[in-house]
Symmetry: D2
Subunit: 100 residues, 4 copies
Amino acid sequence: MTAHPSGQRLHMDRAVREDARRRLATIRGHLEGVLRQLDDEQIYCVDVLQQLYAVRSAVDKVGEVILRGHLQEHVVTASERGDSQRLVDELMELLKYHRP
Amino acid sequence: MTAHPSGQRLHMDRAVREDARRRLATIRGHLEGVLRQLDDEQIYCVDVLQQLYAVRSAVDKVGEVILRGHLQEHVVTASERGDSQRLVDELMELLKYHRP
Amino acid sequence: MTAHPSGQRLHMDRAVREDARRRLATIRGHLEGVLRQLDDEQIYCVDVLQQLYAVRSAVDKVGEVILRGHLQEHVVTASERGDSQRLVDELMELLKYHRP
Amino acid sequence: MTAHPSGQRLHMDRAVREDARRRLATIRGHLEGVLRQLDDEQIYCVDVLQQLYAVRSAVDKVGEVILRGHLQEHVVTASERGDSQRLVDELMELLKYHRP
């Protein structure tokens, strides 16, 4: 969704976007580490799960960074822009998948 | 943790390991897609969050696959092997991070 | 938190409050059902867990109802009121505990 | 589910059952506190949400207590009893709803 009733296009703040990109690049490296772990025939399930949960937790942290940016840039100003209902519905839908 | 009181070494079932590896390779591709999204200055926060939550959900699915393997291979046989307390403590600790 | 920088006091919408109260009264009944289950010496762990997760899920639903009201009544208007930073910080803190 | 292929009936350990009951009785009191909060027309959404999340967290703790008992009493002995597949399937289904 990019076109809003107000005609304004909402987009991600540059600093947030760059922070998210840096974090995701690190996560890609971490994920490759888990892939290498899985080459080891002797690997123990729990050791892999721990690494996987760490990856997941880092992904959730990126989500938190982007969500905070979205609240600051777009949600708190929705009433001024006149798209409150749309932003609230979209956010509640999104929060079904958000994990802290 | 790989050495158990019984002296047996527990390791991940081969089929589970290969399934997990295939899934993680796909997730790496998906993650690279999100990284490309973040190159776009016009990108909308919510569009990135949706992709990110899809990545997270796929990571959780890998966790589920590995956990099921661990239960089948190692937990249900713990009493026979004599390391029940250790396996239960380890599993409860792990479940703090498990997400369905 | 009830006093805001603007001097306005924010409070829960009446309809939301009554919806939440009705739901919680139902949950109390459900909880008493689980307590009775626990009087049965023959009860199986999994049967109790299923009821408990249903209670938990109903509690989360009340949280969703109140959160939506909060977004609609207070968050989308924060920029107009001039307490955006405060509302965003408070909301991000809250979302650490929110579950869908 | 109480009848198992082995013909044995699995039931909750007494100490776990009593611990769970004590905790749930406390939670009922806490829930009644939230109901009273909701009688206050001036109540702020965030104050109620915080109490509600505390209730939810206490419910999750009861789930953890019962789950640990289930693992110790029934899951680690499944291979000996011969109902491993059933216990694993049931547990994986349950873990869809478990929250730490």
